[in-house]
Symmetry: C2
Subunit: 403 residues, 2 copies
């Protein structure tokens, strides 16, 4: 039966454009920074949609908002979740697509007059993006118990306002307690934010887990000297060591193969003059899916050039594998609906990796045209968006109805 | 006889400190930007010294100032020259040392009651450093005929003032015409501004020529994308190509060997974020003594990564070999005085390379401690300074007295 059930694609698209109009930017894209007035407007809109569907809506002390479509039993709900906060120059789809898909899944169930064995919930978590308040994925972290509520509320944003004050200002310091939730399982449907599905012409990414992330900042200290008068053998050139690290990072990614990626994204030379050997360089290496010790070469190259190197771990997350039962359920639904798919990791962080610590969790990806992400030009074709929601629908129905 | 003649070291050092007190900086070093009030004070001091020695002083239309100690004939003079303008944070020795050495050489001849067959001149050229007005070596270029006077006078400085106005303001828009000078030969005594003599414990550098300089700015245009979600095979990473250029520049210098140097001194990443593949990088490659085409690799690396590269030649000077007769004269004088020396190129630009186009020219280097240069901590030991002037004295006497 579940393969016959289909969502209303027009209603889905209309809701995307409606929510996307709140905080819309003149050039396209949207700005609804976490806990801003625009975020409040977006939240109010989403809550009104939940209420119109007859859901039981709760807001917790960190502003996470959950709407529950009751089931035939009172067992813990199958949850669909993500976020509706955006970057200052965000796209229409990141986060929002999943929350709207959750509403659409429930609307489809309601239209069909279907109640499932377990409740089905749709949630949006506070401050997934981390653009205004650090860390990102804050709401799901508090929800799951990985971050103390008090710590989160006391966090000061880039504008100096605390999370607690911002929540009160927009009226989303809710009464529901955090840290005592029970969830049967968690599904997050998201645009890929990478080019793989688009490149390979596939409709669905069956996400097997979130890659481990290691961000290391290197600080190289050499000796500044005249570029014309200093022989090569007497140089301590921090720029040269930087170049070796850049080349090595690429080699490392190629040798490890698979989903390994390596990026030198941030780099600052000092004094940064054409005819002066740089004495100080700060650079970052972003590695996903790997052993951070693989960057031992930085020390070796620095030693050979007679410069000192210090490193600072900016961030490190272990890889998060998703629950096999959820991954297989998604894969089966894509097959059932004849949608070409592939297994893949998520290179970006998502609330699902936080939720994976408290219940079986998984993600479904749909293509991002040209892999554009965190960009006002983010785009996924309507038929791909609709196909993704149908897979979500099928998976949630199966999961919620199981014995 | 010339090996017996010796300068007065104390008088030399006293003059260095006296001139160095004009525009002295609180932390050491000196600031006498070209044609500033401090430059005028320094010029006035030097002109007074020339007049006290009974020299015939002329100031030309670009402010170049020449003092001539007459000879037994009216043949063109043997000239010792350099500059007394400094960087905003200049050292005590750069340029000034040669001008003061020229005065000391002439004072020594005068003390000994010696007139030589040819006149002996000491000159300081306007705006060698190029810190306030571009190009550097401006005064000698006009003197030699390589730059039109009108063009030079119309040049606007970083403060918006033209060279012509600045000359008038400090009273150094002299009456002597430019472009019709005859000079027998040109000697420039200078601190090395590099570490080689200091490192090797040598007193004298016999400069064989000024290295060719090629400054190339590369503009690399790739594609910005998420560092986590973009597989290596789909990247167009301008940062990676930058790293390859940096590694290649070092390899090139090592393979060519000799005096070849290569420096990536300036580098700017865009957008310069930890988790974003850089799409745009601007970098410079400073090569001395080489074929600029050797950087073909930039194009190859860019092609392989699928990014575009454009290059902009910021500066290019062909290597300037010095006259063999002058080089050998300097080498012989160092030998005669028992001073350990080596042949070497100049990695930095000097007025001597401009003068080499109009007469036999050469340079003598003395050690710079730790190679420090363009730095308030520039330092050369007094005995090294004095030894250098004695070599200059011997060479000038030989040259001026020849048949």
């Amino acid at each position: 039966m579940t393969s016959e059930l289909r969502i209303n694609g027009e209603r889905l698209m209309a809701s995307l454009y409606e929510l996307g109009a709140i905080g819309a930017l003149p050039q396209g894209g949207v700005c609804r920074l976490a806990l801003s007035d625009e975020d409040r407007e977006g939240r109010d809109w989403a809550v009104a949609r939940m209420q119109a569907l007859g859901l039981n809506v709760t807001v917790d002390a960190i502003g996470n908002t959950v709407g529950v479509y009751h089931g035939l039993t009172n067992m813990p709900p199958v949850m669909m979740g993500s976020h509706i906060d955006t970057l200052a120059t965000g796209g229409l789809y990141d986060g929002n697509y999943c929350v709207l898909s959750g509403l659409e899944v429930i609307a489809t169930l309601k239209d069909a007059g279907m109640r499932l064995r377990r409740p089905v919930a749709v949630a949006f978590f506070t401050n997934e993006e981390g653009s205004r308040f650090q860390p990102d994925m804050m709401g799901s972290l508090v929800f799951q118990g990985g971050l103390a509520l008090e710590t989160a509320l006391a966090t000061r944003g880039i504008d100096g306002v605390t999370v607690g004050d911002a929540l009160r200002q927009i009226g989303y310091d809710g009464p529901a307690s955090v840290g005592h939730n029970r969830v049967d399982s968690y599904f997050e449907l998201h645009i890929e934010q990478g080019p793989v599905l688009d490149e390979e012409g596939l409709a669905i990414g069956v996400v097997e887990g979130v890659q481990g992330i290691s961000w290391t900042e290197f600080h190289l200290q050499g000796v500044s000297n005249h570029a014309g008068t200093t022989p090569m053998r007497l140089r301590h050139d921090a720029g040269y060591v930087t170049a070796r690290i850049g080349v090595f990072a690429r080699q490392l990614a190629q040798e490890l193969g698979g989903d390994q990626v390596a990026t030198v994204g941030h780099l600052v030379f000092t004094p940064n003059l054409v005819n002066v050997i740089p004495d100080t360089v700060t650079l970052t290496v972003d590695l996903r899916n790997t052993d951070a010790e693989a960057l031992r070469l930085a020390e070796q190259a620095a030693y050979e050039e007679g410069i000192t190197v210090s490193r600072n771990m900016l961030a490190r997350f272990e890889p998060t594998p998703f629950a096999l039962e959820v991954v297989e359920l998604v894969a089966a639904q894509a097959r059932l609906r004849g949608l070409p798919s592939r297994r893949m990791p998520s290179g970006a962080g998502h609330d699902a990796q936080i939720m994976a610590a408290m219940c079986p969790a998984g993600m479904i990806f749909v293509p991002s045209v040209a892999g554009l992400s965190h960009n006002i030009n983010e785009f996924t074709a309507p038929q791909d968006l609709i196909a993704g929601v149908n897979v979500l629908l099928g998976a949630v129905v199966q999961r919620a109805d199981r014995a």
